[in-house]
Symmetry: D2
Subunit: 309 residues, 4 copies
């Protein structure tokens, strides 16, 4: 079978400081579609072109950051097999019952060596992308509400133990290494970009002493012109832009980094090449970390390595 | 494992009427990179951003058309397994020895119910995309030679027996159905678009009485602006444009159809959504075949269903 | 003074067959802003980025077409001088009192040799573009309502006597010839594109036996991507597209031609070069009229020369 | 007459520290076309789409900066009239004989209150844009050599006495004020953007104690995607980027600022609205100077007000 195992990042649960303010932001500025609220007070969103019920879940908390990231797997049998594989590899897993997250099936939860909580799941209700499955139009008015990304695409996580994490993702979860940045020693991983598909990255990590931190959650746009439109909308709404519009050397994507009202960094990006598992990974040396991250400026800004939630 | 089995379309061998004229066309107008010639007189090309040695092979013949399409599989073990699976399914296969096609490993060849010759292979020499694997730039000058597509992306084949073909691809080769067009009876397949990845299509078929015909071979561009540039370059070089720039309803891609000097139709396109195997396929009814194919004109031109090679 | 005399096309009054249907079309599909209705039942519109009160005026009638086109001149003194110049040149003029057209000053009206009614005026109320004149944003939400062109840009008129018309515009009204298409005789004008600014055209004519006909009224978009969006919106709303997206050889603009509900052709376009009066005009020979008009197809469609209102 | 008087910025003479290095830069990185060298050692360039012989002239010197900016006027009679008008206004003028600058007619030279040397001229040899004046294509291969701007568009000058300078340009030279930034006092000019056409700016000034300084010379690109391509080419060639890609609040243009090898800042930009003399100028208050200049970041970088040549 051509696409098996882990298919894609499916949901991310973010902590926000003020749920009302954040809900307005994710709905009207970022332009996600609110799809539900649960008894725990969490607010659920999807991007307009996603078909599953939710991809972003907001939870009110006293500090910002990420609670968990969920990956959708091919089917229930795959979920069972991956759970066994994880345990066989020595990773403790637990089950979260279906429905704990709205419209989402049973999840296999585990913590990776960087300290982040990951989940696998096989089922989430198809609520469609606002178009029928018969004779659809290519886009819908909701695509132009706020920034209007097509989907939750990936996230960049900060934490320790990148080598062990890479081993786990490649040997158990079927990811392949797409690009990496090396430390000054020319061997250790400063950063890695990994894929379970032919996207240039489904997940990325930067080496960081504190575990479980979020650098950014990323949303896909349709074009470089949509990146400009996103930057304009950010400015109109006084969103704090970290950097961009610019291009990444890594993945080639064109991008903006900005902050949500709680200080969680998010990215709206477009483009990037396709990576297949037979492709030799790309390596960036420590002295070229500048263009690797910000291809035009050719140097990191001070916030890139220090500001995380 | 997340990406397994058949990974992607890897090569297509086209028949051309005048090899010199066609070589100039594919090199200087379409903007592929010539990578070799073999003892049989075939000329090999790759798109600038492809890493494998070849993706388009031209063979002089007295009629235009397609000889064969090759798909790259994950590895040698996958190749052996798929060969066994095909035979078990009742498909006769044969082996083509490594090297018969330049820089390409052993191939498993078979004919599908539409009458087309397909091949699977696990190895093709990585000659790179003109950039080092360490600290690369996002693109290279060759990207601007001629139209300069990023890669050979897919092809659309005309032939009979679409239902059997779909069964073979989904049950044996791991493809999933992304979109389909139904005949007037509301049941039979007029056309189908299938994927072995999360591309909107890795291969497509239209129902046609004569087996083994080529509607078009398709090349990926980076943006809608590159589609415009391609149309301009076609006009500058008096390339016969069939239709476009326009948008497909199916896959949402933006596109131009045009003809090579032998009358083989090719497409240069950009965009399209991502399709995962858990996504419900999209269906187009017979009365909406116009916008399905040409979304802006909302009707087929006379050539779409009749001119093939 | 650098910009003097006639500044730009300012308004066009179109005849439509069903005012309600047309109002909905111009407002919600084309995306103009309705700015008023007068006692005569006319409906007034402006494009979002125009500052003057109106640029498109619809009048219900039993046949479609154009009533008149108005050009704004620098100031009242210019208006008086141009009236004298026209009369001295032998053109009969009449005065239309201020207010006959809403929020519009006195107009000097005359008929040109092609049989079209033109007007000059110096005053139209500035109602702004939806942004303050202090610290504005670059665009506003209304820019995304419907197709949302930036402005009424020019029109293409069909009628006889192009040579005399060119002489009038260049010798009296300060226009310069930017491009022209010659008849088979290599001398007579088949078409001409003239400018009173450094736009590639502020007005255009095609030679036609019947006087006073409208080929199309044209609206400016911001980019080629906006041209794609316009074509998508046309298809979503079942607007009849004549041709496009494509590029003109003349002016280099990227374009779509389509029809309003009454059969009046309109254009939404982007781009084109800048033309100054010291630039030598560009000439297209009769055998190249195909790429001159539709650069990609390199041939006229049957409607271009025959369908006018 | 619609376009009269001063038509457009026609040439700028820049001082560079190393003529060979700079010639390579302007030719191969910026992508101008070298059109000549004179006995004084100056090197002449034009942008690919310009028709006149030269628009950028490089002169070797021991400090970078601008020698002079020339504006093309409508014709010889206009030149004589403007010379008289300048003298009548109290501006001392001198004549520079035809041929002093290659392929350029007699010039009227004068110094404006900001300390910059300006010139008016009526004649410069038309060498074409690489396309015939009969049946041209919309662009040529040279358009893709280096960054390949369409034309020299405007420059931003730093110096004192903005109010007097504005008066000179509006009362004598026919410019109109398009946008302005006010000082903290809400009255004095911090910056002004003026036009002799319907471009959003043909010339701009920022108030600065030292006279005759250059902030940047600006070149026009065709689209936001070309702005991205320009930034990529800058990075590939290790050009020092000041800021961008981003958008200006003033003029709405999308832009990159970067430095030539001598430290002269240049801009490659696209877009911007059209400004006619009947349009009310836009005013930016001192507290909004951030978004006025850099709309996305909403604050000036430290270099904007301090680094000039």
């Amino acid at each position: 079978m051509a696409t098996t195992g882990v298919m894609r990042p499916g949901h991310i649960q973010l902590r926000v400081l003020d749920l009302d303010e954040s809900t307005t932001f994710y709905k009207d500025v970022l332009g996600l579609v609110e799809t539900g609220r649960d008894a725990a007070g969490r607010v659920y969103f999807k991007a307009w072109d996603e078909r599953d019920h939710n991809s972003v879940v907001l939870r009110q908390a006293d500090r910002a950051g990420v609670d968990l990231i969920g990956f959708k797997v091919k089917d229930k049998a795959t979920l069972e097999q991956l759970d066994k594989d994880l345990q066989a590899y020595g990773v403790a897993t637990e089950r979260v019952p279906a429905g704990e997250l709205l419209e989402t099936g049973e999840r296999v939860r585990f913590t990776i060596p960087t300290g982040h909580v990951l989940e696998l799941y096989a089922d989430k209700t198809d609520v469609g992308n606002g178009q029928p499955y018969t004779n659809p139009d290519p886009w819908i008015p909701a695509a132009e509400h706020g920034i209007g990304p097509h989907r939750f695409d990936h996230c960049l996580l900060y934490g320790p133990n990148l080598e062990q994490t890479l081993e786990l993702f490649t040997q158990v979860l079927g990811f392949h290494l797409v690009e990496r940045v090396l430390m000054e020693d020319g061997k250790s991983l400063l950063a890695m970009f990994i894929s379970c598909s032919h996207k240039a990255h489904d997940l990325a990590f930067v080496c960081h002493p504190e575990p479980g931190k979020l650098h950014h959650v990323s949303f896909l746009l349709g074009s470089w012109e949509q990146v400009l439109r996103a930057a304009d909308i950010m400015s109109m709404n006084r969103v704090s832009i970290d950097i961009g519009p610019t291009r990444h050397g890594i993945t080639r994507g064109t991008t903006i980094y900005a902050f949500d009202p709680s200080g969680n960094r998010f990215e709206t990006f477009s483009g990037g090449y396709e990576s297949y598992p037979d492709h030799q990974p790309i390596t960036w040396t420590f002295d070229e970390v500048g263009p690797a991250i910000f291809y035009h400026d050719r140097k990191l800004n001070e916030r890139f390595l220090s500001v995380v939630t």
